[in-house]
Amino acid sequence: MFYMSIFLQYMSQYIKTKLQYRADLFVEFLSDLMFQGVNLIFILVVFGHTQFLNGWTRDEIIFIYGFFLVPFALFASFFNIWDFNERYIVRGEMDRVLTRPVHSLFQIVLERMELESLLGGITGLIIMGYAASRLHLTFHWYDVILFVLFVLGGTFVYAGIFISLASISFWSDARSSIMPMMYNIGNYGRYPVDIYNRVIRYILTWVLPFAFVGVYPAAYFLRKTEWYTYSFLTPVMGVVCFTLSLLLWNAGVKRYRGAGN
């Protein structure tokens, strides 16, 4: 309850600040939109040559892409802490965070949130709607609940992976270039994993479970019964990933050495 009220307080502050820089907000919104446009065009180009990709139709892949955008937008708004090492460890901002009576990760999430990324989620919903209408998909009332669960699961999978990576900064001083690579790997989760080699599929499922952000949960709504087990594992994976990353983070905070001044 306390955390919720802190969250709202930070959020209103964030919006106030953002509204002061209108031009900036507009540019950000536009570049976001363009980025998603390029991704979509890529999919369309690939399917300009073939109608099927290992048994998946163009519209199904577009649907998966649309689904992926929703948890990704949530992740990008709240857990986008790729610059954690630079900002909090090297510059010593972590000292300040640790002198406040709120969990350190929660504070950082609040300080780094970028609510404008949520717009990507809306784009995602529109793309899904478009694909669903072409595929003549039908939904039940409880699909809404499942959708929310799967989206949250995917978000927490993503968040867990990036929090774990950020936690590494507590052990190693070196600035890592892992983060950009991770973003690339994350994109693999948007495509049906059975188009990949077995090893890659295994990695995307159990090691860096990005497949749980895109294909697996989306497969449920596409009524691909052979993937259902994985689909329903999504929330579980989210909880597991996030819990593990929290444990790693807490252990890291104990190791924190601070920056000299």
Binding site: S5, I6, Q9, Q13, K16, E93, Y256, G258
Partner: protein, 331 residues
């Protein structure tokens, strides 16, 4: 009841020294020369509620490391820390509710938003009720004279203005214990005076314990009755400032300006004290004990013609410098 209890506190850092050259860099890839650096070396002390303590030492003596352990930022390697009856690192979130921290070189406030918005966020974070906030902060804002700054964003404030706001921000939850790490660094005299006066006031009003690190000895003289002096991670002095001055700063420097040139030998044979040459051989400084002052001046005046004399007390700064240069010995 102690505000701070520290027993055999130690903090070690593992650092590796890199070899020189490209070949050295390759060797570093495989084997590294680790070195354990003891930043804080088995220190023990206690601070009573309501005390104002100056924590001093050269750069790298371990001051900041100690403060960071006391505030729960760093985990000690070994030893016992109890602050406000809690273990700072174990119960961090509950513990920090009872302390205020100001790091002079780092901002606690949000850069982009107005000062009062920062205060409002902190008020929420520390769960301060509206009533407590108004009662307490109105007074703080008035004393620190920051009323006109409240609606400006922090990035537009001068250093002195920002520092006053930082101090106010650290006091939003009216903590019984305040850590100040170089709070007056880079500030002009007027702001320094205002901050000192304010610290004294809250100490008297709320019996707030204050632990202060600074390089500015005038801060310590103005505020602290007690100093803890640190060198290479060890406490080399813990006691009253008065005592420190009496033991190491006893005596005066008498500056004589002679009408004619004199030599050191002549002066030493006249009165046997330490003579030090001033700008030239007309100017000499005698280091004497307070009791011998009259005698030395009498002797010199009766033997030489003088243009000027003045007497100076040894400043705390010089005492500290002497201790660091010569090590501690009871004089």
């Amino acid at each position: 009841m102690y505000a701070i209890e520290v027993e055999k506190l130690r903090k070690e850092f593992k650092s590796y020294s890199s070899r020189s050259g490209l070949a050295g860099a390759f060797r570093d890839l495989f084997t590294r020369n680790y070195k354990i650096i003891r930043a804080v070396d088995d220190i023990s002390f206690t601070v009573k509620q309501g005390e104002m303590v100056g924590y001093i030492g050269e750069n790298g003596a371990g001051k900041s490391t100690t403060i960071k352990m006391l505030t729960g930022i760093l985990t000690p390697t070994s030893g016992r820390v109890v602050v406000n009856g809690m273990n700072p690192h174990k119960e961090r979130e509950r513990f920090v509710q009872t302390i205020g921290v100001v790091f002079g070189q780092r901002s606690q406030l949000w850069w982009d938003i107005a000062v009062q918005e920062s205060f409002r966020l902190l008020k929420k974070v520390y769960r301060v009720s509206d009533q407590d906030y108004n009662e307490h902060m109105d007074h703080v804002i008035e004393t620190l004279d920051i009323g006109p700054l409240l609606d400006k964003p922090v990035r537009k404030l001068s250093l002195g203005q920002r520092m006053r706001c930082e101090l106010a921000a650290a006091l939003i939850h009216n903590p019984p214990l305040l850590f100040l790490d170089e709070p007056t660094i880079g500030l002009d005299v007027l702001v320094k005076l205002k901050i000192r006066q304010f610290l004294k006031e809250i100490n008297e009003k709320y019996n707030t314990t204050i632990l202060l690190t600074t390089h500015d000895m005038t801060d310590i003289e103005a505020l602290c009755e007690r100093v803890i002096m640190l060198d290479e991670g060890k406490i080399i002095y813990d006691g009253s400032l008065q005592h420190l001055k009496q033991n190491w700063g006893e005596g005066r420097q008498i500056h004589f300006q002679f009408r004619d040139m004199v030599s050191k030998e002549e002066l030493t044979s006249l009165v046997h004290v330490t003579w030090e040459q001033g700008e030239d051989r007309y100017n000499w400084i005698a280091h004497v004990r307070t009791n011998d002052m009259a005698h030395v001046i009498g002797q010199v005046v009766s033997s030489y013609e003088l243009k000027d004399i003045h007497i100076r007390e040894v400043s705390t700064e010089e005492i500290i410098r002497n201790i660091y240069e010569e090590g501690i010995h009871h004089g």
